[in-house]
Symmetry: D2
Subunit: 342 residues, 4 copies
């Protein structure tokens, strides 16, 4: 019997990608779709690419509208998930694609989000050590941020193997869909085409503590993160260029071996053959993270790079992957590592 | 038992898209993949987005390598299909994604391609009147050109209903993948980004006679076509803006009714709700043609616009759709109308 | 002594391009700059590319702020120019980059703009027959719309020489800056990158009567226009593909000769060598219109294509060109036919 | 009397941009233009945006063709400049836009370029301490690489003030024109649009030693550089994100003061107001480097970011700026800090 899923926030980019993927998931029946400003409209008017669901009408985002489903995905603005989630009952699997339940330390939350901390849910990045166990059978999932997904997958093998010092330097560029669908002047096509623009520079981006949290847990010691996000002239994709000082005596062979070991059995986090580097164009629409690593002996640093689709593996695909684990379905159900290219 | 399919020309854009779609087709087992310059290489080296097939090795394109399959897809340069096809045997379903077998009139072929005509195969555009019947059980399929697919789907309802005069004016812009993967200066990213550039202007583009052929068959009289193709700064997609003088007394209601009737049961050629116009961004990676039509009463013309993905519905998706019909599978198997957006 | 110029609407795209060009104009001193929502801000905050003017502060758009200049450029929303212009005095050269004074027929204005007609000013397209004479010494200039500029330059030689019938079919694609800087969902980078989307289809775009007006004046008879605008994934540029049925007996040689004659002495409307087609990438930032024409003998149509920069020749460059004529300066002052490419 | 300049390599991107800028330089008369594969062609056929020079014919690149000019710009493939330069005579100002004469240490040259070192010429980055003095009156100029220009301008104030440790981590993304005009598969528009792809990772990019050389000279001690270049989906522009560990006790105020002091009088290296970050879209076609800096106190690092146009300030504009100094012309002649946007 199919699992029935509702999607709150179906008119945004994350919600739209989730629906696209759920349409190809053999075990899911798509139930209620909700929106805020677009409630009452046909989905076809706001997501014209989702023809199979074009005639669905968006309900307002209320707990009543979301009741009666086995799974509820929340693609809501930060801070709005808790109120909805607490009315959904403990037997419903609630998958939050917002930030509300990602951080373990309330002080981090207050510092970066400026409000009260809602709590901490099992973290939906199965590839991290212990990641799958935390999700199996869970009724609550906090989907990671898109940047932390890319960064954690690129660097956790190095920290797990003790190859690098606990200071990571990260420059990650994202396609514009990561900034959402609300119209703002700096997100106009005229502004973004042909332009790379950094933002949130100097340690103030909200995804920074999430990266420290995940890498620190793997390293077994605090990891400081210098993170610079960049808006890139493309609709989707994150390229995360991550580096850290190699510990003394670390060899290129040891680096390669550590990554091969950490990623050997991962269906979606894929180490490329030596010499081939990831590109966001190769993961468009796919749930794969393509990863490569090198040791720069002159600079004494390990450089690890990952490419993901911010909406797929970085949000909606990662959400489905974690849902599959929580529901006891095969982890790869409804997901693919084949991208749409060119 | 799965149908076993080979792909000749697996390293190009059409071949790559075909493989991406075949990976999601439940009735197909992907067999031999061949290439020309890339023979001997891993597919992962030339199609880095196709991770599930990354370790497949490209064979050279020979009849021997292609033998032993139920279906053989040919994604070869124009003029090379006939030699391969004739060695494949009459029981193998051969789907030619090149131009060789599209035109019925040898004079058209000689004029536009400058060589001897290889023959005419059943035409893989099921939406045209009589289109499905021609494909059922066939062992040979000529996949239409990408531009003729977009144009024929936009205009055939008007010609089928006798609404317009037999002179069509078409301006169609295509993403760069339509120009193939061979590196040429004018196809460099530096050249195409930020630029719209027409080519093949004045009736010389090779897809022109194919449009006349299809529209003329529907109209029951010769249809002249003024066709201007434009290279657009995007990787995929065709937007075809088509118009023709309305016959006397044609009303907007009659136009709408004709399109609704012609497209009512089509799974992939979809008339949008009145007032919503197609955009190529909505059909990226999908097999849908989105279509809209208007009557411009001041100018006395019907304007019909379609948007397709040139590699999907325009080539590889259309090929699979026709294959499904030829094999007796449900026509929609392995195909979707949901695009990848944004 | 330098001519002192004010710019009303300096924070938009047209105003910004005008300032960029005026910075390179040796005869102009840039005076007051005004804005609406951005009044009080540094120009550097809203036009970060205009470093030489970064510390200028935007005044509110009032007649008082604009007083005391020799030239006032109005880059205001449609309908706002008349109120400002009438307070500026008859000796000030007022150059309106909006639509208010372009149309001669009040009925056209009411039909397409829905308000009362403000009047008709000399039309700033010097290349049209009689165009320069109308501008010399004038104190009022209506700058043409960007699409009509591209279309009129492509087709007027054909109409002037009586080569074509009075029914033109035009498909013109524009970069997103033509849609302005106000944030709207469909103009987001995520939406426009990778997508071609038509709009205003079926004779409803406001630039349609302006095209009919200019071409009709050249032809000496009414010219109907079927016009389809398309939003293209690039920040700037218009490619206008224009065609009309050739009159009986018109030869390719006659077509070429007519265009050579009409454009022979034009500094900015340039007929390319035979066989070379315009591309918007070649006119980025330039005041040139690149033009090419062909006779499609099979279809019986003349196809003329022009490429312009919608903000330069299509708006701000055209405004300066007309201003130069009105002021008695050499027409090319401060303008170039060299584009920024790639 | 105008200075007469020849350009060797006029058909490439660097040569084309140089010509565009020289057209606006009041002291330069453009003389001989040479090409290699395109010798004998009209410039209009290979640089269709340079209408003012469209009828110039490309000569072959020989010393004879280049003789008789006051200035000769070399935009040739690496390794070809020395042979041409030595035949031009000591009184001709030779400006090499290639790499041949940039590096001081022959061992660096051999390691990264694999051939014999041709020598070292005065380095064309006037903003560096002592930079102008080295260029005044010089008859030979080595124009810096585009990445080293961006990186040196972003970081030299920090090293000059002793604020950071001698280990810099740099991730710099470039538009595709930086990869040149020779058609290669990975540079096709289909491949680059929508994709960010790293290359030359792990310390192997040829611009790495040039960065170490410049920063080390400023710091007074060796500076190791971890450099990751990324190909970005845009035709022009470099965004260089640079960071280094702050020395103990360095405050945000000290950082700001150091940058304000170092860049106070620079016409082209411009520190933005606090809080405003550079974007490549703001320097398109301009000779400005836009720079911003922040101290990330949590991570203990200074993050400095610069945006340049790789072809303008990064190559051809920088070449003209240095030429102006060498010839005793005002440094800003023919150059602008106003970009073309959007």
């Amino acid at each position: 019997m199919a699992v029935r899923a509702a999607v709150a926030g179906a008119s945004g980019y994350a919600g739209g990608e989730l629906l696209r993927l759920l349409l190809g998931h053999p075990g899911i029946e798509i139930g209620t779709l909700t929106g805020h400003a677009n409630a009452g409209q046909r989905l076809g008017a706001v997501q014209p690419h989702l023809l199979p669901l074009a005639d669905r009408v968006l309900a307002p985002t209320t707990a009543d509208a979301l009741a009666g489903h086995d799974v509820v995905f929340l693609a809501l603005p930060h801070g709005e998930s808790a109120a909805v989630a607490e009315r959904l009952g403990p037997d419903v699997l609630v998958v939050d694609m917002g930030a509300d339940f990602r951080l373990a330390d309330p002080a981090d939350w207050r510092r970066f989000y400026g409000s009260e901390h809602a709590g901490t849910w099992p973290y939906g990045l199965p590839e991290l050590p212990g990641g799958r166990a935390a999700l199996e059978g869970s009724k609550r999932i906090a989907v990671p941020g898109c940047y932390p997904t890319a960064v954690s997958l690129a660097l956790f093998p190095a920290y797990a193997a003790g190859l690098v010092e606990p200071e990571a330097v990260i420059v990650a560029a994202s396609g514009t869909s990561g900034a959402g669908k609300s119209p703002k002047p700096h997100l106009l096509g005229s502004e973004v085409m042909g332009s790379l623009s950094p933002y949130g520079v100097g340690g103030v981006h909200r995804h920074t503590p999430e990266m420290s949290q995940s890498l620190g847990a793997v390293a077994g010691e605090p990891v400081t993160v210098s993170f610079t996000p960049v808006l890139a002239p493309m609709p989707r994709g994150i390229l995360a260029t991550c580096s850290a000082r190699a510990r003394d005596g670390v060899s290129a062979e040891a680096v390669r071996a550590a990554y091969e070991k950490a990623l050997a059995d991962e269906p979606f986090a894929r180490l490329l053959p030596a010499g081939q580097w990831p590109a966001t164009g190769s993961v468009y629409g796919s749930n794969a993270a393509q990863i490569q690593v090198a040791l720069d002996e002159s600079a004494g640093r390990i450089v690890a790079i990952s490419a993901i689709d911010n909406l797929a593996k970085g949000t909606a695909g990662g959400a489905i992957q974690s849902m599959n684990i929580a529901l006891g379905l095969p982890e790869e159900t409804g997901l693919t590592t084949a991208g749409v290219a060119p």
